[in-house]
């Protein structure tokens, strides 16, 4: 694990902050009932408790419903252009590593038009916290399918059903060598808040996928796993160091059978908790994390909570190290030195 240089830490607030410190004077214009309200509320809970000076928090977004986010929180912020939030955030964090940088984006913004930037910020492991609002639809342009829309869905641009294979964001994050991936649902604010803290603590790119409901264009898109009646059997909240148990009666679990995961029932065929997988978020090898991220209804419960949080050097730390090294070891300390370096001659 890398030890942070003191000059890279984020300055802490000398006073205790509250939710009110981050209330913006702008009217929140999301539709009533939109899942984004819950995300905003969790962020407002998390920011004052991070302990950072309020001036050292920065919010960046792209375009889409999710990306109006910066206007609704009183921090420094940029509302960027479509798909480019990851690139803008990268510049912010590299230029000023003393900022806690948060990015709000959606499944269109980051999985489609901004897909390239999304995989590259993850590959570089720049210390940014990404809130990925996944409502499986284009909301702001009024209901076209997105790269995460389930195959076969009828939308305005797929009147006969989509014929595209959707992305699973978790798979994409891990495929891009992601060091942190978590998934939450917008109906569980407590877990969302908890996961945001973990993301903030993680050094490197943290991606939180929020399964979010769009009441207008994809209402109940996540209903099969968030509905109160069934959710306990169709979700599993992963906790580091604990065996993977789920179900209304806490009688189901996930175990590794050969090279594959399987759902088992405790007490059946002599299966006990000892047979279950114990979650290890810090495991460097992403193999099990990938399998967990891919679990889907109806064969598996959908994994929620922090799925992966592995330690790797961050881009922003490494560039500072290179600069420090160069400053100590190079003969060129000023531009005057540079201009007069190498082959020069005097003409009288």
């Amino acid at each position: 694990m890398m030890n942070k240089q003191p000059n890279l830490t984020i300055e802490r607030s000398t006073v205790e902050l509250t939710k009110e410190d981050f209330v913006s004077d702008q009217m929140v214009k999301w539709c009533p009932g939109c899942g984004a309200h819950a995300i905003l509320s969790s962020v407002a809970n998390v920011y004052p408790k991070l302990g950072y000076r309020k001036e050292n928090i920065m919010m960046v977004s792209g375009i889409g419903c999710s990306s109006r986010f910066p206007y609704y929180v009183n921090t420094y912020g940029i509302h960027g252009i479509h798909g480019r939030a990851a690139a803008i955030s990268s510049g912010v964090k590299i230029a000023n590593p003393h900022l806690s940088v948060w990015m709000a984006t959606g499944d269109g913004d980051s999985m489609a038009i901004g897909g390239n930037h999304f995989i590259h910020i993850i590959r570089r492991n720049i210390d940014i916290n990404i809130l990925l609002f996944n409502n499986q639809i284009y909301g702001l342009t009024k209901g076209q399918y997105s790269p995460t829309t389930p195959m076969g869905s009828v939308t305005k641009t797929s009147p006969q059903g989509t014929i595209e294979h959707p992305f699973n964001p978790g798979e994409l994050v891990l495929g891009a060598q992601g060091t942190f991936f978590a998934r939450v649902v917008d109906t569980n604010p407590r877990l969302m808040t908890e996961v945001m803290f973990e993301a903030a603590k993680h050094d490197g790119t943290s991606v939180i996928e929020v399964l979010q409901n769009c009441v207008i264009f994809a209402d109940k898109t996540h209903d099969s796993i968030t509905n109160k009646e069934v959710r306990d059997d169709r979700q599993i909240v992963l906790r580091n160091g604990f065996p993977m148990v789920f179900g209304k009666n806490k009688d189901k679990g996930i175990r590794l059978n050969g090279t594959r995961l399987e759902v088992v029932t405790l007490g059946e065929n002599g299966i006990t908790e000892d047979d279950l997988l114990v979650h290890d978020v810090y495991q460097q090898d992403p193999g099990v994390h990938l399998m967990l991220a891919k679990m889907a209804y109806p064969h598996f419960p959908v994994a929620l909570g922090v799925i992966r949080s592995a330690n790797y050097p961050t881009y922003d730390d490494l560039i500072e190290e290179q600069i420090d090294y160069a400053k100590k070891n190079s003969k060129i300390k000023t531009v005057e030195d540079l201009l007069n370096s190498g082959d020069t001659w005097e003409i009288k």
Binding site: E11, S24, Q26, R53, K54, E55, N56, M58, V60, S61, P70, Y71, N74, T75, Y76, G77, I78, H79, G80, I81, R84, A86, A87, I88, S89, S90, G91, V92, K93, I94, A95, N96, H98, L99, N116, H117, H120, I319, Q322, I323, Y325, A326, K327, N329, S330, I332, K333, T334, V335, E336, L338, L339, N340, G342, D343, T344, W345, E346, I347, K348
Partner: protein
């Protein structure tokens, strides 16, 4: 070195061109030749001319690599139209370059390379050395390969290594032709092959062999004497336009106290700026090689928001990709310098050739009413100054600047008088102070109309900006129709007001008269020389060369109205002349254009200017 050849020709300037196969080391030979010329006290300009392919097929015209050097006892402004000396290492390079040799020029060839296969591959029906096709030239048939091998026979090196030093033989001949010393080249070899003493020795032997060959056989017939140029006293170095651009930015960062951030993606011919800045972490430069052109500029916008001198560097196609993000920087009113080292277009076009055809794109290539400041450098050396000024103007006026250079300036080199950083103009970015009770994101300076730069981390200045239209003063999102009109007008006025902070347009030659020749950007040298020639013949002609394109210098109309006709010369189909027609009307505009990926020649311009003077 004392030259005993009987026939010494005194020359004010000489143009030499080294050409050969891509792997023949012509770029290095040209560089060593020009550095030696500079140390001999001559002024110079150089231009490398190489194919887009790294190693095109051996001995083909497509694979010819060249390096042209213009040296002289007077101020050298161009790399020269035609060459006095052509050094051709194989038939293909002769075939491709003979048209650039002056009548009567000295042509030095490696006669050993003219065997049948190579001659055919070059597209010659018969060996040009065997007939009288080169009768109008001073042809020197040098057995370069044979003599190089013979001179190294005792060293027991493999043939490949031996043949690699053929270029030193050619260089040796050239040093004899100019009576120059080997010292500089020796120093270079000692440094370059520090751990390979055998290679150093081999190269030195071949260099001397080339010199002796020229001396003993007196093959050249005569040698040149070029006296020292009268150059402004000071400390000098040789510099390419791309390096000068990178250094101008580093100077601006140091002088303004703003850390430098470059977000860029490699693209010919702009990549050297990225490579150069990546070397200077000791000066605090943060260089981010992005995943694409868009990420390059967007990362720079992020860095700009946090208070960095933010840059992105590219060439034509890359500028197209950056268009939307330039709009974001204009809307958010953040400083940002976008460098476009222009190449031949459209699309992928001619990546290694030079053109001025991205002017429209720089001026107009964005959605909405989206004015950007446009500045153009005009010599390889002054890329330093204009990169510096682009940074200063962008930061002080809080809006993006597009800096146009071109492949010819970027790759070409010139003598550069090293400035004192303290002598460069001061830079005062309008940074907002902590807890300023009057701070509003879009409140403006009454003179410049620039908003303040409120840097994250500063107490009491938290604010949000973005690409949606902003409410005047407060910066909140606004779709109010009158506010939109006002903001469009303010952004345009802010750019126009830069005219009050840039120098007035100068005119060389006549300040009034029959014809004003107008040019901009990288064509300065050729146009200036052509106008001078015509002016010296007593014609009433003046020359205005523009570096500030948007806005134009405030006296432009005054300058133009003193001439009967205005001839605009540019390496495109007429982009600047049309821009002038839009903004400076009521003049009789004429145009001279060329779009061949090649620089202007002084000769063609002289003809064009004279023709314009004769016509009604």
């Amino acid at each position: 070195m004392v030259n005993l050849s009987s026939n010494i020709i005194e020359r004010e300037t000489v143009v030499v061109k080294f050409v050969g196969d891509s792997g023949d080391g012509m770029q290095l030979t040209g560089t060593l030749f020009s550095d030696t010329a500079a140390l001999a006290g001559l002024d110079l300009a150089t231009f490398p001319d190489y194919p887009a392919e790294i190693r095109a097929p051996h001995n083909t015209v497509a694979g010819v690599s060249g390096f042209q050097v213009h040296v002289g006892a007077k101020k050298i402004e161009t790399t020269g139209d035609l060459c006095d000396v052509l050094v051709a290492m194989n038939p293909a390079s002769l075939k491709a370059n003979l048209k650039w040799a002056k009548p009567g020029a000295t042509i030095i060839v490696d006669m050993d390379a003219f065997e049948e296969v190579a001659v055919k591959k070059a597209g010659y029906a018969v060996n040009p050395l065997d007939n009288d096709s080169l009768a109008n030239f001073n042809l020197v048939k040098a057995p370069i390969t044979t003599l190089t091998r013979a001179s190294l026979k005792h060293m027991e090196l493999d043939t490949k290594t031996v043949d690699k030093s053929k270029n030193m033989f050619a260089l040796g001949i050239m040093y004899h032709l100019f009576s120059w010393s080997f010292n500089w080249t020796y120093d270079f070899l000692n440094k370059k092959f520090k751990n390979k003493p055998k290679i150093i020795e081999a190269n030195k032997i071949v260099l001397e062999a080339g010199y002796s060959f020229a001396d003993t056989v007196e093959a050249l017939g005569s040698v040149y004497q070029v006296s020292k140029a009268s150059i402004e006293p000071g400390r000098y170095r040789n510099i390419t336009g791309n390096i000068a651009t990178a250094w101008g930015f580093l100077a601006a960062a140091e002088r303004s106290g703003r850390p430098l951030f470059l977000g860029s993606y490699p693209i010919t011919p702009a990549t050297e700026i990225l490579i150069e800045l990546a070397k200077h972490k000791s000066l605090g430069a943060k260089v981010f090689q992005a995943e694409d052109e868009i990420a390059g500029i967007c990362s720079a916008i992020g860095a700009s928001y946090t208070g960095s001198l933010a840059l992105t560097t590219t060439s034509g196609p890359g500028l197209s990709l950056k268009s939307e993000a330039i709009g974001l920087a204009i809307m958010t009113e953040l400083p940002l310098v976008i460098v476009n080292v222009q190449r031949g277009g459209p699309s992928t076009g001619l990546p290694t050739k030079s053109e001025q055809s991205d002017l429209y794109q720089a001026l107009f290539g964005r959605n909405g009413e989206c004015p950007a400041i446009v500045i153009a450098a005009s010599t390889s050396a002054n890329c330093f100054y204009y990169a510096y000024m682009a940074s200063k103007i962008s930061m002080e006026h809080m809006t993006p600047v597009i800096l146009l250079t071109d492949g010819y300036l970027g790759n070409g080199s010139q003598l550069f008088r090293i400035p004192k950083v303290a002598d460069l103009p001061e830079i005062h970015p309008p940074i907002a102070e902590a807890n300023d009770p009057d701070y509003k994101p879009y409140k403006r300076d009454p003179q410049t109309l620039a908003r303040k730069w409120a840097i994250p981390g500063t107490e009491g200045l938290r604010h949000r900006i973005g690409g949606l239209e902003k409410e005047d003063i407060y910066g909140n999102v606004s779709s109010d129709p009158h506010n939109h009109q006002k903001m469009v007008d303010l952004r345009a006025a802010k750019v126009q007001r830069v005219a009050d902070y840039i120098p007035e347009q100068e005119v060389i030659g006549e300040a009034e008269g029959d014809l004003l020749v107008v040019s901009w950007g990288g064509t300065l040298g050729a146009v200036q020389e052509a106008v001078e020639l015509v002016h010296n013949e007593g014609k009433k002609v003046g020359h205005a060369h523009f570096n500030y394109i948007m806005p134009l210098p405030r006296n432009t109309a005054e300058v133009f109205k003193k001439f009967k006709k205005i001839l605009v010369c540019e390496l495109n189909s007429g982009q600047f002349v049309n821009y002038l027609k839009m903004t400076q009307y009521g003049h009789d505009y004429r145009q001279y254009n060329k779009v061949q990926g090649l620089p202007f020649t002084v000769n063609e311009l002289t003809v064009a200017i004279k023709k314009e003077l004769e016509e009604k």
